[in-house]
């Protein structure tokens, strides 16, 4: 049930109608690991620069179940940094700046002690880098990748190769449309299934998600969050993936009913991420909070 995640740890600056946060802990790997840690131990493979603030490390160390032995600190390099601004509806955002830093350098290596990892999540990066990680994980039972519009545009061939190697893909509805030229999320997900994976999750933000699995299709609404609870959507998608993969790793299988459960745990875990800037809400969260909200979600999303 060992779970490993590769991705970015970033220094984020977020401006939203709800306020601003400057120079806070962010990145796909940070959100994923924090969310997954409530479900399963999780191993982080990422790189940061010499400028990485010590209090960011303390936040990650504050979570039970996160192992940072695969976190490379490169003294002469700079940490990945991202700035973004959300518009009034909190669903659209624009990127204000991106400083690639360590992301432009060779990817971090999977440490020897992590090479036996069975469950693997490859957060969004160049598909060639994602493929190279897979080569270092010979004992993997299940590998799931995330991707983004940039790679669909400039590295489609490598992405197609990656899809032949992974068991699952997680992507946004706009990315599913871009990859397949099919607007319908169900049909788009099924089309991606034909490219290799045994399951595909299309994330629709406030509208929930669609799953295409070799055994069937599933749909799930988002947790019904009220407007005043939505402080910062940054990292919600990565938290969703973390909750999902944490559940799959503990279950030790990826059949349709298990992934349906995993989507619900991912949804509920991510619903806390929205409630603060950075990982603030996740850092104060207890597993019992997730369980309580899961019971609430089961009631609210019950099919009569």
């Amino acid at each position: 049930m060992s779970l490993l995640v590769t991705g970015t740890i970033g220094i984020d600056t977020v401006h939203a109608p709800t306020g601003s946060a400057e120079g806070v802990l962010g990145g796909s790997c940070a959100y994923f690991a924090a969310a997954a840690s409530f479900h399963s131990p999780v191993r982080v493979v990422a790189a940061v620069g010499g400028d990485w603030p010590d209090d960011h490390r303390k936040v990650l160390e504050g979570f039970d179940n996160i192992s940072l032995d695969g976190l490379e600190v490169r003294a002469g390099s700079r940490t990945f940094a991202w700035g973004g601004k959300y518009f009034a509806n909190m669903n659209e955002r624009e990127t204000l700046f991106t400083e690639l830093g360590v992301v432009e350098e060779p990817a971090p290596m999977v440490p020897e002690a992590y090479r036996d990892s069975e469950y693997v999540f490859l957060a969004n990066t160049h598909p060639e880098v994602q493929l190279a990680f897979l080569d270092q994980l010979p004992d993997r039972k299940l590998a799931v990748a995330d991707t983004m519009d940039l790679w669909i545009n400039i590295a489609r061939d490598e992405l197609v190769m990656l899809l032949e190697q992974v068991d699952g893909l997680v992507l946004n509805d706009s990315e599913a449309l871009q990859l397949t030229e099919v607007r319908n999320a169900v049909t788009a997900a099924r089309k991606i299934l034909e490219m290799g994976p045994t399951f595909v999750v299309v994330k629709k933000g406030e509208h929930g998600c669609v799953l295409a699995h070799e055994s069937g299709v599933a749909v799930l609404p988002a947790f019904p969050a009220e407007a005043h609870h939505v402080i910062d959507p940054t990292g919600a998608g990565d938290s969703f993936a973390g909750g999902m993969m944490g559940h799959i790793a503990v279950a030790g299988r990826a059949d349709l009913p298990t992934i349906q459960s995993a989507l619900a745990w991912g949804t509920v875990t991510a619903s806390f991420t929205l409630e603060s800037f950075s990982l603030d809400r996740l850092a104060s969260l207890k597993r019992a909070d997730i369980d309580r909200r899961m019971a609430e979600f089961r009631g609210a999303a019950r099919v009569g």
Copy 2:
């Protein structure tokens, strides 16, 4: 458990990427009644002109459980006619023409034999007309209204009065935003709840629906229809309301769990409407088809 619907019966012309249908049976009342009839007997109150095609009447008469004693045929008038065109994504449409006909004349009367109706659905029309219908239904136990952007714009005061008189409101997400100036569907629905009704359903099309009820909130995804099954979305919202109200009328109550079930029956019933132009698919449908798809939906939308 007597269910009554007031609304339009129209002559529709629809152009879509999937084909065209000219001069076919349509209108909120027709779709609602057809959908509801699989769940409950339903009484229709509507008016048509002398030009109403006999084969449109035959379609409605072909459904078990639809009573047409409240259908006024006005020999010297013209039937409401609507033409629309769907764009490539099948989610947006433009109106090509609207010929109001009988809709500009005094509303039809509720016949004496229908005045004991307990469950009432007021399909979209001027809220003053909806209020006048309520005055003719003294025995009603539960009245639910639909509305549209036009009335929110030009008859907001009358709509506010209507909301104080009805038990439920059904509207689209864009209309909920327009009425409340709140983009979040959960918060918007809760805000409308404060205006009078005991429940509010926000329809989000392919993304399902959100329910705010005095006892709590619920969410439901849409049935996961594949792209090639979506032929014509016209009437899907009215069919959803028909399936929902048919279930409520038979259940004889409107507590939160009953309405959650009703939303699922509405969702499943409407998923057939999409599969053809006009009421073609509903006209060939059997209750067993709905039950089978409900079982499929329960599996696909299961919260793990």
